[in-house]
């Protein structure tokens, strides 16, 4: 495993590539130098902070409950991130927290309940992190697309409501289209894995000296978990948000158009 550790000197050398990015920005007049430096500085600060905290959480002597509390914090932070990226979607903080918590609970129950991975901090935190982290983008897309579809297609939705259809039925074609869009990106990544790119966990394991076939098995299990988690997230946000956008007497609330 030591072969994979690059140390502080390795990290310092990798800054050469940041210097290349800054130089390119200066050469082309992109005016992104400050942003590149800020992003790199912020990333290393955050990662170091997380790394030192993880040292405590994944220590074999630390009770696993701390790892699960870490997961709760990740859910809250993910919901706050979703709210920041989809601030024009009504009630998004509560709905995204609910969706991410529900999908994480289901996925993690399968993973650790069935013993796919051992219930230890070293497994709980990174696996939950991958599932929750990959869900954020899909939740944002699903939420914004649902609001966008229902706002844009209001005449059709109201024509259906005026025929006596309940909101669940009147919104179905548009919500379905939004959910398909939200899931497409994850499906495409799942299909392209191995052919177009080698995913992070597998790359990390191979760099750390694990047998490539073993790394593939780990990665495949993680991909399936992420896919299941994202699908659950998208469906929960779809159901919850659509219910929120209609009144109990089957009227579509007023919606501001949101850029999907």
């Amino acid at each position: 495993m030591d072969e994979a550790a690059i140390g502080w000197s390795g990290l310092a050398l990798s800054l050469i590539l940041v210097a290349v990015a800054v130089a390119l920005s200066l050469w082309q007049g992109l005016r992104l130098e400050r942003e590149i430096l800020w992003a790199c500085g912020r990333a290393i600060t955050q990662l170091l902070a997380v790394g030192y905290l993880l040292l405590l959480v994944v220590d074999e002597d630390t009770p696993v409950i701390w790892a699960w509390l870490w997961v709760v914090a990740m859910v809250i932070f993910a919901a706050v991130t979703v709210r920041r990226r989809a601030s024009d979607v009504p009630d998004i903080l509560r709905l995204s927290a609910l969706a991410i918590a529900a999908s994480a609970a289901i996925s993690l129950l399968v993973v650790f309940g069935l013993g796919v991975y051992p219930n230890v901090g070293r497994a709980v935190v990174p696996i939950a992190g991958m599932m929750i982290g990959n869900s954020i983008g899909s939740v944002v897309v699903a939420a914004r697309r649902i609001v966008g579809e229902l706002a844009d297609r209001r005449p059709e939705v109201e024509a259906r409501l005026a025929l006596g259809q309940p909101w669940q039925q009147a919104s179905k074609p548009f919500v379905r289209s939004a959910l398909r869009t939200a899931l497409t990106s994850q499906l495409e990544s799942t299909k392209a894995v191995g052919l177009v790119f080698l995913p992070g966990a597998m790359t990390g394991l191979i760099l750390a000296g694990v047998d490539p076939v073993d790394a593939v098995l780990v990665q495949a299990a993680i991909m399936y978990l992420i896919l299941g988690c994202v699908a659950t997230n998208v469906v929960v946000i779809g159901l919850g948000l659509t219910r929120r956008l209609f009144t109990p007497d089957h009227r579509l609330v007023r919606l501001a158009r949101t850029a999907a």
Binding site: P155, E158, A159, A162, L163, D249, R251
Partner: protein, 243 residues
């Protein structure tokens, strides 16, 4: 032969010709505010149970919102809306909307054929029922298997009317249904509305077109600035519209 009565004479006679029993619709001191903006300002009116009642007034007067209140696509901020004497708030909204059909200003065809569109209104409707709805909207049976996307504006609006007729509504609400149509399609749809009213299905028709109101109305209510116009306001509006 005396000239046909005009909107002016009809509005003057309207209250005298109100039915003795419960009106088809009643608005009682209805206020409607949307996003803090006042749309209807304590409006009270009654709509009779036969023929075509035209809601006439300038754009932005609140006519469309009155129609939307009648089949509960909107709910009043204050006041009561009644359908055949019963508050619409106490009627199941889905049942109410099937009894009170609505055709919107712009046609909203659903994907698929005309048959697919009609079946959205009633998935169990028989072929005969679909053909009857098409006939009611003035469309030939051959339209049934045409793609809804290929219809002209007038045909599409008729299909939307047929789709509404599939639910066998007791009354039809028509919100400026001819505003996007050419004169020929407009006159054909007006004739269809007259036929439906003559068959005993009352129609509430919204327009800002005085000539259309003259051609269609059995009864006229002039709405200005979220209220039923006073006699003076109505006369001023009619005069300005007549140029």
């Amino acid at each position: 032969m005396p000239p046909p009565p005009t909107v002016t004479t009809r509005t003057s006679e309207a209250s005298a010709r109100r039915p003795v029993g419960a009106p088809l619709f009643e608005l009682d001191a209805v206020v409607l505010e949307i996003d803090g903006r006042s749309i209807l300002r304590g409006i009270s009116l009654a709509i009779s149970d036969d023929g075509i009642t035209v809601l006439l007034g300038p754009s932005g007067a609140g006519k469309t919102m009155i129609l939307r209140l009648l089949n509960r696509l909107e709910v009043p901020t204050a006041g009561v809306v009644r359908f055949r004497g019963e508050s619409v708030a106490s009627i199941d909204p889905l049942a109410l909307r099937r009894r009170v059909g609505m055709v919107f200003q712009r046609p909203a065809p659903f994907p698929g054929t005309v048959r697919d569109n009609l079946l959205v209104a009633d998935p169990a409707a028989s072929n005969e029922a679909l053909l009857a709805a098409l006939a009611g909207a003035g469309l030939a049976p051959t339209f049934l298997d045409r793609s809804a996307d290929d219809l002209s504006g007038g045909e599409s609006q008729r299909m939307c009317l047929a789709r509404t007729l599939v639910t066998r509504p007791e009354v039809l609400l028509m919100d400026e249904p001819t505003s996007a149509l050419d004169p020929d399609a407009r006159h054909r749809l007006e004739r269809t509305a007259r036929d439906l009213a003559a068959e005993g299905r009352p129609v509430v028709w919204v327009t800002h077109d005085l000539d259309q109101a003259d051609r269609l109305a059995d009864d006229v209510l002039v709405v200005i600035d979220g209220r039923v116009a006073s006699a003076d306001e109505r006369d001023r509006f009619l005069k300005s519209e007549r140029g």
